[in-house]
Each structure stands twice: as structure tokens, then as C-alpha cells.
């Protein structure tokens, strides 16, 4: 028996899409940020199962994400584990003909975990530092940001879909690089992994900011349907050197658009749970939702 090769657990669809991915891989299949084509193959093959079968993710408005060039995806955290991030990455990779890879801004504690640290860096999920965000956007990459941070994933079930405070660093970087902000809402994660309690001692032991405990004790998400709603890209004028009040105002605008997308997504999610889930209605740009709408038809994933 020959040595085990990671490529053998990469699905055919993923292999085809990896070929279309516009990343500058060298002869070792590595890009300058340490992203490995081989590892991406395994990563996306695993996400594919969760995206298409386990969570049966429906993705709306994927065309709001630019096909090329730098952009910042900004959304809500949903669920006790960063399942939302994985599914957002999967939607960018699977929901369109031209796949894109986004880099998530990961909590710093993960950098010290064996294997997690290695895999995160090989699949382009880097510590959430302003230096990384700037460099990636200047390089024309997609960035996935959850401005709620660990406060967002650490939400208890009773607070589900209630956005907590947004950090403001992302806005200064968006202004500095001129990158558009694409707001999104992730719906379903809170039900898939409802956190009813935080095991503080356990969290301290592993160096994590929290340890989610669901009613069924094992912190693993349930196979419930999820949706992702992308809103229209938002552009803000400025250089990133504006006073805090200006930046906070911009951040509030993004937050309110994400809130609207979440509200709308939750309504659709309920319909899906009731079995009355219709095709996503055409955009209904009433005044209050003018900036917020997700778009047209769902782009995946249920057969």
C-alpha cells in the first residue's frame, strides 16, 4: 500500500472547481499566503457534504459578491461553533460557476492549537489582524469578517439572531483599501447548535473564549436547514482616518443592513421549517429595505 495521499479524498466537483479558482499556486500547489491546493481539496470536499447534504444550505444573492477583486463580506455569527463561516466559504466556492475563496479572520487562540493552526493556515484562514486584512484586500482577495467576534458565536440560544456590538476595525480597513462591503446574514446556525450554557472551566483548559453546551450536551450541530442571504455591496467614502463618530456611523449602517437581512432570513427560515417555504420572492425593494435586499433565486443546493 502506498502512502496516504490527501488528494484521494477530494471530490471530482471540488477538483474541477479548484482548477478554476484564481489563486497563484506555485509548483508545490502553494500560494504566497501559505494556502495549499491539496488541503483546499480536502477542506472543500468536507464542506461540500455539510453544505449540500447536512445543512442543505440555500444561498441567496450570491451575485452580489464580486467575481473578482477585493471585497469584504460582513455578517452575523450564528450558532455556537463557526459553522457559519464554513458554510459561507462553501457558498462562495459551490454556488457559482466561477468559484472564489475567501479568507476568514480567525480568533487568535486557534493559532496555538496543534493541527487546527496548521489546517487553518493551509486553507487560508488567518489570525484576525488588521495587517492580514489590509494585505489580502490589496491583493484583490475576498475577506470574511464577523464583526461580532467571539461575542457573536458565544451568544446563548435565548439571544439568537440578536446582533451584539460590531467592532469598528473592519470599516477603517475597507475605507483604506476602497474595498466594497458585502453584507450577509446566516440563518439556521442558532437552531443547529443552540448554546444553553457556557462551560467556563473547559474553555479555560483548552484556551478558548467559551465552550458551548447545547441541551444534548455534545457541541456538534444538528442537521437542520440553513440559509445565507447576501445583500448588495455597500461603498463608503473616506480614507480610514476619519474620527470615531464617522466610522461608528458607517458601522451602524452596515449593522442595520445585516439586521434587516437577518430579519428577512428568519421569516423565510420559519416558512422552511413550516414546510411553506416558497422560492425566494423576487427582490422587493421597499424603501426601508432598499439597501438590504438579498436577491432573486436560491442558487443551490437542495436536489
Amino acid at each position: 500500500m502506498g502512502p496516504f495521499r490527501l488528494e484521494t479524498i477530494t471530490s471530482r466537483d471540488v477538483r474541477d472547481r479548484l482548477e478554476r479558482l484564481e489563486l497563484p499556486f506555485n509548483q508545490y500547489g502553494m500560494d504566497p499566503f501559505g494556502i495549499s491546493k491539496k488541503h483546499l481539496g480536502v477542506f472543500y470536499s468536507m464542506l461540500e457534504v455539510f453544505y449540500k447534504t447536512y445543512f442543505r444550505v440555500k444561498c441567496f444573492g450570491i451575485d452580489n459578491v464580486p467575481e473578482r477583486g477585493g471585497a469584504m463580506l460582513v455578517g452575523n455569527h450564528s450558532g455556537g461553533l463557526p459553522v457559519d463561516g464554513g458554510m459561507v466559504l462553501a457558498s462562495l466556492f459551490f454556488a457559482r460557476e466561477l468559484p472564489r475563496h475567501a479568507t476568514g479572520m480567525v480568533e487568535k487562540f486557534a493559532g496555538n492549537w496543534p493541527f487546527v493552526s496548521e489546517w487553518f493556515s493551509r486553507v487560508g484562514q488567518l489570525p484576525g489582524l488588521p495587517e492580514h486584512a489590509l494585505r489580502l484586500l490589496q491583493d484583490g482577495r475576498l475577506l470574511m469578517v464577523f464583526p461580532e467576534g467571539a461575542r457573536g458565536t458565544g451568544k446563548l440560544f435565548k439571544d439568537r439572531y440578536r446582533l451584539v456590538q460590531f467592532g469598528t476595525g473592519f470599516m477603517r480597513i475597507a475605507l483604506q483599501t476602497g474595498a466594497p462591503i458585502v453584507p450577509f446574514a446566516f440563518i439556521g446556525g442558532e437552531e443547529a447548535l443552540p448554546t444553553v450554557y457556557h462551560a467556563k472551566t473547559l474553555a479555560k483548559l483548552v484556551g478558548a473564549p467559551y465552550w458551548p453546551v447545547p441541551p444534548y450536551l455534545v457541541p456538534f450541530p444538528l442537521p437542520l436547514g440553513c440559509e445565507i442571504h447576501y445583500g448588495k455591496p455597500m461603498h463608503f467614502p473616506g480614507t480610514g482616518r476619519e474620527p470615531d463618530e464617522v466610522i461608528e456611523g458607517y458601522v451602524e449602517q452596515v449593522k442595520s443592513v445585516v439586521e434587516l437581512l437577518v430579519l428577512r432570513g428568519c421569516a423565510l427560515h420559519r416558512q422552511r421549517a413550516d414546510g411553506t417555504f416558497a422560492q425566494e420572492p423576487k427582490d422587493s425593494p421597499s424603501d426601508d429595505l432598499a439597501d438590504a435586499p438579498s436577491t432573486s433565486e436560491p442558487t443551490d443546493s437542495e436536489p
Binding site: 506555485n26 509548483q27 508545490y28 502553494m30 500560494d31 504566497p32 499566503f33 501559505g34 495549499s36 487568535k108 493559532g111 496555538n112 492549537w113 496543534p114 493541527f115 487546527v116 493552526s117 496548521e118 493556515s121 493551509r122 488567518l126 489570525p127 489582524l129 495587517e131 492580514h132 494585505r135
Partner: protein, 303 residues
């Protein structure tokens, strides 16, 4: 041009000397070790940079340019010896440069002074602080030497000072920090971590130093060649076998079982990457590396 190279008997320093000599520069060298078959036009003074005869070389020969390469990086030398040579030697060389009318001083330093940490940015710019002073305390003497050399920029503005923070040099010479790490058939890694390693070919490194002279650089510059590759790729590419060791056992394995001796601080440098952004140097000198990562590894393996 009259160029003085300190530590001229190092493998890379000799290459610099021969390269400059071949194009017609007059070369002086200071080293404690002899260079019996030094070619014509290369005058080696066998002394210590900290001794009076070294000052006489400056006084009598009045070099136009000094390339300071008399630093110790290997850990077989005692901490006191490293401090004496690296810090006190650097201090004296720069003082002589100022006192005896040298026009340009080039300090050949290392990128490792930036230090490796889980929450450090992937690409370090010249403005980044030298974290090695805490992450790898055994490198404190090199950090101090680098900062001392850089202080000449404001202390003596008339003396053009180039501080080069060079990535590991690797290639047919089999000399340097990384070559020592890769000397045996087995290379220790930390289980669950596979950091990016940034290195360049010996000849590209020499070319970069020569360009720093030609362009009369004045400032602090990172110097790098091809994009980095993971340590596992580097080990295999150089024909070595990576041996993943659980971190708690690492200190017991260093220097045993055919693995290289490493000080405790080295663990961070085997867990996390140190990668530099060398854009400023490329812009200032039009430097382009000639050997990609594959060529560097092959040249090391096959020589």
C-alpha cells in the same frame, strides 16, 4: 571602490568578496580565521573586529564601504561569546565607520529577529517590532545588534547605513542557520504545526548584498527571494525526513536521536512562520531572485 568585509571568512562573505573582486573592487577583509588562498586583490587581516589592529585597518586603509558580516548565529558558541561578537563587535565597527570617514555601512542581519508567534502577522514589514527578544530570548544579541546598527541612521546621518534583514540563505555552501538545521537526515518538527519557511539561494543573497552597495542604500530593508514554503515541504524537498514530535517532548529530543541541538526558544520558530515583505528592497534595487524555492532545495540537496 575600496570595500571592507568583516567576517570575510564566512562562506557567504567569501562569495560577496569574490563577486566584488571579480568586477574590479579592492577588497579588504577582517576575520579571526585565516584565508590562506585568498585571491589576489583580497587582503585579509587576521584579527578580531574588537581589537586594536581592526581599528588600524580602518585608519590606514580608509575603506569607502564596509559590509559587516562578522556575527555569530550558531548556538555552539556561548551566550557571552555571541554577545561580545554580535553586539560589541557591531558597536565598534559602526563607530570606526563614523570615525574614519566610511561612506556606506551595510549590516547583514537576519529576518529571525522579527520572532515567531501565533498572533504575529504573516508578512512582516520593516516597521514590525523584533518579537524575537521575547519569543526566542537566545537571539537577543542579534536583535540588539540589528537595532544598534539601525541607530546609526539617526546618530550619523552622513554615514549611509543599510540594515538588511535577510531571510535564511540556503544552497550549495551548506552554511547558515537553516543549513545547520537541515544538516542531518531527519528534521524535527512540532506535531500539528507546519509553518512557512522563508529562504533564498546563496547566490541570490550575495546578489542582494552587492545591490545594497551599488544602490548606496540608506535605511532598513527586508531581503527575500521566492515565496515561502511549509517546513514539511522544505524538509522533503531537501531530501530529509520530517519527524513530528509532540511539543512537550521536544526539549528531550533536541540533540538526540540524530536530531540537531536547538535552544528552548527555537520551538516557537518551528511552530510559527517568520515571513517578510521585501517589497521596499525590490523597489529600491530592482532585485529579482534567480532561483525559485524548488531550485534552492535541489541545489542544497544535490551539492
Amino acid at each position: 571602490m575600496k570595500i571592507l568585509i568583516t567576517g570575510i571568512n564566512g562562506a557567504h562573505a567569501r562569495m560577496v568578496a569574490l563577486r566584488l573582486r571579480a568586477r574590479g573592487d579592492e577588497i579588504l577583509g577582517i576575520d579571526r580565521r585565516p584565508w590562506p588562498d585568498a585571491p589576489e586583490g583580497v587582503h585579509v587581516f587576521q584579527t578580531d573586529v574588537r581589537k586594536r589592529p581592526a581599528a588600524d585597518v580602518f585608519r590606514q586603509h580608509r575603506p569607502d564601504v564596509v559590509i559587516h558580516m562578522a556575527t555569530i548565529t550558531h548556538f555552539t558558541a556561548s551566550a557571552e561569546e555571541r554577545l561580545r561578537i554580535n553586539l560589541h563587535g557591531t558597536r565598534l565597527v559602526f563607530e570606526y565607520c563614523h570615525e574614519f570617514g566610511v561612506k556606506q555601512a551595510v549590516f547583514v542581519g537576519r529576518h529571525t529577529i522579527y520572532g515567531a508567534a501565533p498572533d504575529a502577522p504573516l508578512y512582516r514589514t520593516e516597521e514590525e517590532p523584533p518579537l524575537a527578544v521575547s519569543t526566542f530570548p537566545e537571539l537577543a544579541d542579534l536583535v540588539a545588534a540589528d537595532l544598534f546598527a539601525a541607530a546609526a541612521l539617526w546618530r550619523w546621518p552622513g554615514l549611509k547605513t543599510a540594515v538588511l534583514r535577510m531571510v535564511y540563505m540556503l544552497g550549495p555552501t551548506h552554511r547558515g542557520t537553516l543549513a545547520s538545521f537541515l544538516a542531518g537526515p531527519r528534521v524535527p518538527t512540532i506535531l500539528g504545526f507546519d509553518p512557512l519557511y522563508h529562504f533564498m539561494h546563496d547566490e541570490d543573497g550575495v546578489e542582494a548584498i552587492v545591490r545594497a552597495v551599488d544602490h548606496q542604500l540608506n535605511g532598513i530593508y527586508n531581503v527575500a527571494g521566492p515565496p515561502p514554503v511549509p517546513l514539511s515541504t522544505l524538509a522533503r524537498g531537501t531530501g530529509r525526513q520530517p519527524i513530528p514530535i509532540p511539543e512537550p517532548l521536544f526539549k528531550y529530543s533536541a540533540g538526540r536521536f540524530g536530531l540537531p541541538y536547538l535552544p528552548p526558544g527555537a520551538v516557537a520558530h518551528i511552530k510559527h512562520p517568520i515571513v517578510v515583505d521585501a517589497t521596499a528592497f525590490r523597489r529600491a534595487t530592482n532585485f529579482e531572485h534567480k532561483h525559485d524555492a524548488h531550485a534552492v532545495m535541489v541545489s542544497f540537496r544535490e551539492s
